[in-house]
Point group: D2
Amino acid sequence: MIVAETKVRVRYSETDQAGYVYYGNYAQYYELGRVSSMRQIGHTYREMEERGVIMPVLSMNIKYIRPAKYDDLLTIKTYIKSLPETRMDFEYEIYNQNGELINKADTTLVFISKENYKPVKAPQWFLEALKKAI
Amino acid sequence: MIVAETKVRVRYSETDQAGYVYYGNYAQYYELGRVSSMRQIGHTYREMEERGVIMPVLSMNIKYIRPAKYDDLLTIKTYIKSLPETRMDFEYEIYNQNGELINKADTTLVFISKENYKPVKAPQWFLEALKKAI
Amino acid sequence: MIVAETKVRVRYSETDQAGYVYYGNYAQYYELGRVSSMRQIGHTYREMEERGVIMPVLSMNIKYIRPAKYDDLLTIKTYIKSLPETRMDFEYEIYNQNGELINKADTTLVFISKENYKPVKAPQWFLEALKKAI
Amino acid sequence: MIVAETKVRVRYSETDQAGYVYYGNYAQYYELGRVSSMRQIGHTYREMEERGVIMPVLSMNIKYIRPAKYDDLLTIKTYIKSLPETRMDFEYEIYNQNGELINKADTTLVFISKENYKPVKAPQWFLEALKKAI
């Protein structure tokens, strides 16, 4: 299992008039978590695209447990629990600065060739980096 | 069952560098769908807040079936299938201008008092409007 | 002079915890205004990109006169006052549902070839459509 | 003069289909810069609001010099050049990881009481902290 931790401070632009982080903005935090998990194994998502593969999201499931508020310092824990074949699963937990679990989510992404927009297998170089770290 | 239909044209700001609508932005479309379903029964979400109740989202589940692209004219179908008690469920389907189903989702919201931020039951005036329409 | 009018209803996601539309989100409204002004002369910005030209923004100046609030029904007036050569100027006024001017802005955009990312002149087909309407 | 430096990495959500940071999203970077300049003098914007004052933006002027791209590591330099009375001016420069100036902007904000939404003078505690640092 790979676990990556990322810190993010809530921006004013991410709040809504209820005084909470807008529920759609958590997707950005999961994205930061995924990017961080890839950096941890020595790669970046930028590199994935430069090597010809994009990773659109197929599904996302979110539980909103407590609200996040402006200026909160959040910790995003991102979990990779299995090796991808044509799809890749990520799980996320978000904690606030008091250590409270405020949000849980999972996403499934797919590997797509930038050339023909068809699904492909996870790139070999990426799989090898994952195998070393998992 | 209440079914509300809303049209929305994809904004440039909603796309990302993959050329698709960013996966987190669909939450805005569901919000437009919910608002539209409330207008259909003669009320607005603005009114809900003015009457002292906010409705944060507790959970959201999304299936991304096909990408939405810049300038696409999307139709959001919003379904209310049961009367709320302390929670309210919405289901959504999004179709593109070719009539293709591109996205499915559901959300559960909770009724919260603006005064003390505690859960409350669905307001009576709202329930009555729902009962007439459902 | 070309004047285009567009209506937009403020989304919940566009507000911030002050209860106003977040100041960065007005750029989306100007974009809607530009797109609307292009539709008015028989074209779309989508078409511009499909024909190989993108139009990044070079400068933007905004005066925030009154706040816009959730669910407000805004009218965006977009003005094209001169024919573009390598740059194109747009001016904007935003009014709320009470007819109050709440925002004024101008932007300058540049025509860029999608092939080599170099500046180009305004496409001939676009100039001709502008000339007829201006 | 106060100069604050903040680093921010461009998020995927901040790009658009042209492959650049969407022009409206720079407002978020300036907000990060302002927040950082306030932290540097020992305070936070969160504190400002908790003490009863909000600071809406009155005007913003931006020059987009070069595009910012996904995963770029930007440096936001925020300048406070004069003490505020009822309004406060900030200037910004954004540099990419190659040290290139990519964006320049200025904003004017106003101090507003949260109680009655009327303009007020800059709070004394804030002025004193500014005077020590400027």
